[in-house]
Amino acid sequence: MTPLTLPDVPLAPMLPILLTLLGAIAATVLGFFLPRRAVAIIALVSLGLSAVSMGTLWNKGQTAFGGSLQADNAAIALGIVLLIGSALAILVSLDTAGRARLNFPEFDAILMFAVTGTLVIAFSGDLVTMLIGLEVMSLSGYVLATLQDSRESEESGLKYFLLGATGSAILIYGIALVYGATGSLNFTGIAAASSGLQVLNSPLLVAGALMLLCGFGFKVALAPFHQWTPDVYGGAPTVVSLFLSTVVKVGAFAGMLRVFGGALHNAPNWLGVLAVLTAATLVVGNLAALFQTNFKRLLAYSAVAQTGFLALTLLGTQQVGGPALAYYLLIYTLTTAAALAVVAALQRSEAGLEISDMRGLYYRHPGYAVALAICLASLAGLPPFAGFMAKYMAFQAAFQNGFVWVAVIAALTSIAAFIYYMRVAALMFMPDHTPAREYPGARPAITFSVALGVVSITVLGILPNLAYAWVAFPGIWTQLAGT
């Protein structure tokens, strides 16, 4: 008989994804035999392993399945960010899942599945792969949002689901149109075809690009497709909101980078529309956040606003925008994760903290208060914290590609941002003698993750090169379009 030869599929480029997938499966199966903590640990371990395997792939530029899965440096850079975010989420869940009534292994399982999906997006080499990743991510996201057995959570889940599904549908239709225009689903193929396009197909291409933009708009919460964001982030358990607002968003942006920075980068018209959407997002997100009374919802709206700043980087040329996006995503993940971790640590109910309740937090929980203040400063873009550099790069990207007006709008709206961040921060430091309203008790894992986030924000703010030097090389980003 013929020996059991394995087919020669290059496994190395898929390894990071496979590892997280294994983690997910392990969580699913072992969940019946092990306590949830152990499952979470397993998940963390698999994340770590996947990170290691990514490290080995750096600068190799390997691909699998005829380029539909490619482990180029861009993918790895974003992948690392994704892993960090997920690890933080799991760490936080270790301490709060019990309170959030999420203390069962399915949580980790679905979370890991979502991570796998995001990684697939980051590594995707053609539209179908990207779509698969996107959907795995989104579907797991819907489940996560609904997982907690409470009215708010279910409601947010339903809203998330309905709008997300609509977004996916539009996106898929966009894919169809783009395919119709270019006759290829492969990113490089599309890029090649869209550069020399006969007049006949260009309307199709434009329509497809716009629909893709719209679909992604739903996924990353660009205005006017952002309505679900506050309800979902506000209604879901805080751990889940943390995950959704960091990892899932990063994944969606990875997709946008792949599609718009790579495949469609020389397709006409979408850039202007994106510029308008970005401006709208900045205005809406920041102004709406001004009027929030609940800190969690405030963070939700600020997440919308941050989406606007992130989208600025996509307005730039690949050489400038790519590294800016990667760096901003890293910082955004760390900061948001840390901030929401603090909320998760201190909240009494999953509704998060009322802003008024945060008065004098500094005198009750100095550590958390200072950490939160640093996160807010970083989100507001104050040096020496990393948020400043990130924001600066975003502005620069938009500016250099000629979108000065968007940059100016961003600058003006970030004043509003500064105001609502600073109001909270200042409140925390105002003396206050009412009894503590926070949830008592030790939370080592959260403290650890918060410390991690804050320290890295500060260090990266003072020495951005530690992270930026890795992604600064423009070749990484120009080859997204296969050039």
Partner: protein, 100 residues
């Protein structure tokens, strides 16, 4: 042999109907059905284009999309049922524990 254009027009119509449904319908199930309609419109145009370009990759894409649709059905119905069993309605407007 029907020309590709007519397929595309048809799928465009389907998509438009679905979009309209999403925007106007108020019960979660109907919104959901409209979304499925949009998905199938996408499938139709994918197949049509695949025939026009004469390659099969898009047809595999159709398979994928079908799976996605199925998965969405499973999860979406699960969510809707969960909510429906907790309160008598799935009317999107009645879901107002949180004011957006």
């Amino acid at each position: 042999m029907v020309s590709t254009n007519s397929y595309i027009i048809l799928s465009g119509l389907l998509f438009a109907i679905g979009m309209f449904g999403v925007l106007t319908r108020r019960t979660a199930v109907m919104v959901f059905l409209s979304v499925e309609l949009m998905l199938n419109a996408a499938n139709l145009s994918l197949v049509a284009f695949a025939r026009a370009w004469g390659d099969l990759t898009a047809q595999t894409a159709v398979f994928i999309v079908m799976t996605l649709a199925a998965a969405e059905v499973a999860i979406g119905l699960a969510i809707i049922v969960a909510i429906f069993r907790k309160r008598e309605t799935t009317n999107v407007d009645d879901l107002a524990a949180m004011k957006g």
